[in-house]
Symmetry: C2
Subunit: 327 residues, 2 copies
């Protein structure tokens, strides 16, 4: 067992959080992580009302310390979905990708619902905003992450954020973590836990398609690229400060760096792309994955991922003590 | 005291290495780090025979476990300098930025000289090449680093490299480290020490100019950019797989991303640029610095940096034990 400010605040057994990945982190994955003693988050962004009822509903029914992850700007665009989420009374609400006014508004609303509120940040300025807004927990996510991220890397970002918050808010490190060595390193840096995405996408319970899962197992870190193409083809108005790390394929090779052209060609390209995604065409679909691909070699159960991460971290921590010698 | 495979192999007190930064890591800095119990490296690349005599000569005279850092491809271009370096019998030779044939050739020559040979790598493929070539120590450097680097980040790179080497070769983590929290994290990941650049550039002993040092103290991580402009204006034939992280200034804003234009305009631009550098014009000069800038707030003695890094790491490691509870 590894106890931190995060496990104490949330009442969970292990300082391991599954990222709320859109189209990947459904109720089954979240519930399995929660059941295993971590914090499982349902990714409800890009989800519609039916997705929420199915997946948030499932996690709520299974109970325990579970939560939802909401991309703030996409909720602003979908009136009613936020209240629908709150209706399931998630014990934890994770918020990401909003400007300062959105952060304040959603944090207040989430706190008012009685949830513990987790806010994801990507630099020290965002960390200060989130802490002032009343976040219960911060997630500092580095550019190693799969999917959307900013430019700073996790390793130097974590201590920089801690210097800003002075440890007043539990901090979860995200981006670059896939095993217990990473968890041990996060704790050494002063963080209180890790959030893992790619590692949990490659589990039996994730909603990732068969083609995506096979790619997660076979692809290497050097196969990933940062792109806006999948945002542009879907017409999702992401702030250009964020790019998304994905396994590169024909679609990214064709369109990366040609955002304006792709936007102009959307009427033609999008239907073909949507059809390709529907048939799980890995040469076309988005396959968000982080720099940890070199560390992911199999599809396992989510419970096994939680357990092995904690066990490896315990081993790593136990190995560190003997390095210290009284001088 | 923190003992690792690195400290044992090299016979040093602390697993802290100062990066061999060109034009920054002179004999004074290297000797101070060595004197403080770390491994001090003189950066002799871009150096001429006079630089080697002055700075390598100084470090050699002071003695202890010191070393030199050589950018392999630049030595290939400067016949005679390699033998001049070997003439000072450095106990440690650190090699970086060479293709597979250069790695094999320089490692063999360095081993033959009796030195411990450190090879810097940036991905798992380079790690396998360096280990096969007979490196005594690997440095895995991530994209957080100041100066030249590839694209993968340190945090996921370290465990990926360890999976390749199976721990058979001591591993130093580089890129993103500036204090003892970072050293503790590197050890938790399974590395045997850290190499720090930016933190040692911001020391009393470094050869960084007054303007550069003031910038290191005042600039933030978000002020850094990855650029090839300084390579192009100097006409140094860097492999385009590598960019250099520098504090952004007028020069990078003018020329970044316009490599071909800058190369074409070199005859005109270079003399002006060289003159600006000579008067320490921070709007023009290269100021290589890593993503750790948010963690660097002062100019200190190199010995103080070594001491505080080790002390902070000891504190971080001692704090980790109590997190473990028997379940």
């Amino acid at each position: 067992m590894i106890s931190t400010k995060l496990t104490e605040l949330l009442g969970i057994d292990h300082p391991v959080v599954s990222a709320p990945m859109g189209s990947v982190s459904g109720g089954g994955l979240a519930a399995a992580v929660t059941q295993a003693g971590g914090l499982g988050l349902v990714g409800v962004s890009y989800g519609d009302a039916a997705f929420i009822d199915e997946h948030v509903g499932y996690a709520a029914e299974r109970g325990g310390v579970w939560g939802v992850g909401c991309v703030m700007f996409t909720f602003d665009e979908r009136p009613g979905l936020w209240d629908k989420v709150l209706g399931y009374a998630p014990p934890v609400i994770a918020l990401s990708f909003g400007d300062a006014s959105q952060v304040r508004r959603y944090v207040e609303s989430a706190v008012h619902s009685g949830a513990q509120v987790v806010v994801q940040v990507h630099d020290t300025e965002q960390a200060a905003v989130a802490a002032r807004a009343g976040a219960s927990v911060l997630v500092a996510q580095g550019a190693e992450a799969g999917g959307h991220h900013k430019t700073q890397s996790t390793l130097p970002l974590i201590p920089a954020v801690l210097d800003v918050t002075q440890g007043a808010v539990p901090l979860v490190a995200a981006g670059g973590f896939a095993d217990g060595r990473g968890l041990a390193a996060a704790l050494a840096l002063g963080a209180d836990g890790v959030m893992m995405g790619t590692r949990f996408a490659a589990t039996e319970e994730s909603l990732a398609t068969a083609g995506f899962k096979a790619t997660l197992v076979s692809a290497a870190t050097t196969d990933t690229v940062n792109t806006r193409s999948f945002d542009v083809v879907r017409g999702i108005p992401w702030d250009t400060a964020y790019t998304a790390r994905s396994v590169g394929n024909s679609f990214t090779r064709t369109w990366s760096g040609r955002d304006a052209e792709l936007a102009a060609a959307r009427a033609e390209v999008e239907p073909e792309w949507v059809a390709a995604v529907a048939r799980d065409d890995t040469s076309q679909r988005a396959m968000f994955a982080g720099e940890v691909l070199d560390l992911v070699h199999d599809i396992r159960s989510a419970a096994d991922v939680v357990r092995s991460t904690v066990t490896e971290a315990e081993t790593a921590l136990a190995r560190l003590g003997p390095l210290l010698h009284t001088s």
